[in-house]
Symmetry: C2
Subunit: 335 residues, 2 copies
Amino acid sequence: MAVTIKDVAKMAEVSISTVSRVINDSKPVSPDARRRVLNAVEVLGYEPNEIARSLVTRKSNLIGVIVDDIGNYYVSQIVRGIEEVGRMYNYDIIIGSSYGSAETEMKFLQLFKTKQVEGIILASEILNKDVIKYIEDLKIEVVYLNRYYDVPGLSTVYLDNEKAVEMMMEYLIELGHRDILYLTQEKDTDLTVEKYKIEMYKQYMNNINKEPVIYKIDTDEIEGTYNVGGDILKVIKDNNISAVFCCQDELAIGLMNYLSDIGIKVPDEISISGYGDVSVSSIYRPSLTTIKEPYYDIGAVSIRKILKTINKEDSSNEDIQLPIRLMKRYSTQKI
Amino acid sequence: MAVTIKDVAKMAEVSISTVSRVINDSKPVSPDARRRVLNAVEVLGYEPNEIARSLVTRKSNLIGVIVDDIGNYYVSQIVRGIEEVGRMYNYDIIIGSSYGSAETEMKFLQLFKTKQVEGIILASEILNKDVIKYIEDLKIEVVYLNRYYDVPGLSTVYLDNEKAVEMMMEYLIELGHRDILYLTQEKDTDLTVEKYKIEMYKQYMNNINKEPVIYKIDTDEIEGTYNVGGDILKVIKDNNISAVFCCQDELAIGLMNYLSDIGIKVPDEISISGYGDVSVSSIYRPSLTTIKEPYYDIGAVSIRKILKTINKEDSSNEDIQLPIRLMKRYSTQKI
DNA sequence: GTGAAAGCGCTAACAA
DNA sequence: TTGTTAGCGCTTTCAC
């Protein structure tokens, strides 16, 4: 049996209230009593039971984090951000991966509620009405993150995706490219942020009096993109494309792998750019020109937002928008 | 104020014990009472307070996980394994990154103890006496994971590193290589598993009557290795090396980046192999021949081990050794 | 400055 | 089958 506050009180010959007072510094205690308590704590190796403490103070110092898959690079960066600033404020994080299941997200939401978490960060990749509804009715502070879907109404941290497309398009045009293919995913295009990105791409193509060339594929993975490399190449040839702007790095890398394997040189024969700056992008040869999304910051800002609300420092519910960076690397070059 | 067991009891017109019995299925309850309770739970949206429950049952259903850096690929895979099997047994994980600080590891260990975790998995990359000591004295089940340091005495999950080196050496020799350079890190070689790997490498070189050629560098990163690429190349030329076996994938990739940039073709001019199978390794071109360490399984096995002990299914304290795989890819070829 | 006592929400004897 | 009650370990009035 672990040592409790009673044991300390007995040894220090004071009441448990006094012990509580010294360990919490909540009320003045005579120097002598304090000394005796501290000594007893030391000798007995007493550590307060946080569970009991939480029960009475109703503060769990816990933030629940639900992610799609912790094994995913960008997810782990977000978690890193959450954890690091949470730690600074003495908050622990309890985490769960949903692997794209709305049911699992729901289960975690409920679980976290029973665990008395003080805030929840849900970094989802799916869109589910029941989940959204549940969140809205929850009396717990929630930050909803979704890098694909556009979900208005929830407290979130935004990325300026349109601005990012602007930056990339301006850069490609500056390099002399005019025949630019936009490679995107076909899934739920209307509901996702792709909608805005595609709009912006079209706008830029219009500006240079070029017909937009958009190719949609049904994968978001390197392997999947590699497999349709032939189809993409056909579109490239048919439209005399000199640069491909991919809506995600994975597509860009899958495509580069394909081109590399059939002997087409990037960027000499064609420029490729991505979106997201996944960890491979800077390591891959040629390193990928892409848009860097500040994942760590997203996590950090999310939790800070929750903490602020909890501590009533800030009740403003405005959404935060984080800056995005263009990473000029070697998969693109002047034409 | 959240709804409590009392509210449910009142509404269902039974005592709180009956409510408890229904929600825990711990004792027979009359069909009628059960129905009324269930109805009240439904109507009120009651969710039991896990904190209060933990306090009395002394079961937190929490496993503490301390890692070096959750943003690290292999770490996130381990966590994924821990989380997934933990979930199956209804355990939640609470996580903390130590970023290589022994002090932080210590802080988490203590914190987790106060949080009443039922087990701790410490995935460290450092070696610290105080931490080890603290773990040994802790009355909580701990699994200690360290992919670098060899720490006998603690409950852990081992990888058969020697066997892995055997596999790789046999493969390289089978490809016709005789002049094989072993590229390793110089830090703490005696305390780490590198000690065993180097021994095995030497043994194989002896078998084929070749002098071992070992080059130690003081980095474990892609960038750092890239920066000493020139020095490594000199060693390669001086010793007429045809294959480089790197003790970590990062070194292999850093070296391949360097060779790529100065126009040396891998594997045509030289074969390179790694160790670890980090995420880039299979994506990089040429894809890297390497040793795949089963990170997910390490996590899964670690938590299962803890859970077994907690549930007294298994008190055997034997260490578990996981298999390792040789990934034959395109950075190595026949000479 | 200190201690007694109530109570956080729940489980688990115990008695009925 | 059910209700009463005693805690789990702690914080926090309240009275002294």
